[in-house]
């Protein structure tokens, strides 16, 4: 089971890296690309920005813009089509979030389920500072005060410099 999963992951990585070759066949079978209306330069820029903010679900560490997976191709075409229909960036983001969840966003939203994700590093930093302060305080406070005898010896060392 685990070996099969490992193999599958490995094959997937391979498919992603040689995506240009692999993607060519299934993508050309889909007739959507030819039917897309052209976008204005401004809309093309919006399309690029959206594609850079969305995750390819097949090659999960790539954005839609970077991925050659057939699904990424389809999703880019959908962004294109929806922009041509006059939809807003927020509406298009929403469309993909409704279907693929928060994970499709490269920049996860700030909400109760993601508080730990966003605040966790700061909480850990605060915890580190707390431990540091406590340790420093304990170290400085832990030294017992010098006795009169020790004080006299210290004074002698300091005077003679030996």
């Amino acid at each position: 089971m685990n070996a099969a999963r490992l193999l599958a992951t490995w094959l997937l990585a391979l498919a992603c890296s040689v995506g240009t070759i692999v993607a060519a066949a299934p993508a050309s079978a889909a007739p959507t690309a030819a039917a897309l209306p052209p976008l204005s330069a401004a809309d093309q820029q919006r399309a690029d920005k959206l594609a850079h903010g969305l995750r390819c679900l097949v090659c999960q560490n790539q954005t839609l813009a970077d991925s050659n997976a057939p699904l990424a191709h389809d999703m880019r075409n959908l962004i294109h089509a929806q922009l041509a229909e006059g939809r807003s960036d927020a509406q298009i983001m929403r469309f993909f979030e409704d279907r693929y969840g928060d994970f499709v966003r490269y920049d996860p939203p700030f909400k109760p389920a993601t508080w730990l994700l966003w605040l966790g590093p700061f909480a850990l930093l605060a915890l580190g500072f707390w431990v540091l302060l406590r340790t420093l305080k304990r170290r400085s406070g832990a030294r017992p005060p010098l006795t009169a005898d020790e004080r006299a010896r210290a004074a002698r060392f300091l005077d003679t410099g030996s």
Binding site: A30, T32, V58, L71, R99, F103
Partner: protein
């Protein structure tokens, strides 16, 4: 004593979390579609292109939607389980033939056997995106009210069927 137990405890906690992380499938993303109404399909049927698959007509019963393709290796591996589901358990099994050429898909069914009541041809994958599909095979459990109640990413093994899908279906029936 505490100064040794505390780091040891912290290490153990980290080790447990890392071990849990390693045993999870990083590709499995929690589906955003759970408990949402199954999107309409309205696509031509693979083996009768003049007819269309109407999800609405399936209201009132629990049914399965299996996303498959002739180019998908694991899809063939899960066929015995699907056949068993359809025949022995009597659960209506429908197919969504995802980004496939209809003639290839029909050949594939003729060669491997057809466990589906019917399959819809989603040649451009548009309906697949409506269902949040990203890794074929995927299987959705849809309840009598037309809501998606469970999604299985990847192939269904007999073990997965018994431990994860069958309990969901039994709870719904």
């Amino acid at each position: 004593m505490l100064r040794y137990l505390l780091p040891l405890g912290a290490f153990m906690a980290m080790a447990v979390f890392l071990a849990m992380g390693l045993s999870r499938d990083p590709r499995a993303v929690p589906s955003a579609m759970i408990d949402k109404p199954a999107p309409p399909i309205d696509l031509p049927l693979l083996q009768a292109p003049a007819q269309r698959l109407d999800v609405q007509s399936l209201r009132g019963q629990v049914w399965l939607l299996n996303v498959w393709a002739s180019w998908c290796g694991p899809c063939r591996d899960e066929l015995p389980v699907l056949r068993d589901v359809a025949q022995r358990h009597g659960i209506p099994l429908y197919g969504l033939n995802y980004k496939d050429k209809p003639e290839d898909a029909r050949d594939w069914l003729a060669r491997n056997g057809n466990p589906y009541v019917a399959s819809a041809s989603d040649t451009d994958g548009r309906v697949g995106i409506e269902y949040g599909v990203y890794g074929v095979p995927e299987t959705f459990v849809i309840d009598g009210a037309g809501r998606i109640r469970y999604k299985q990413l990847g192939l269904i093994t007999p073990d997965i069927w018994r431990t994860r899908i069958q309990p969901v279906i039994e709870a719904l029936q």
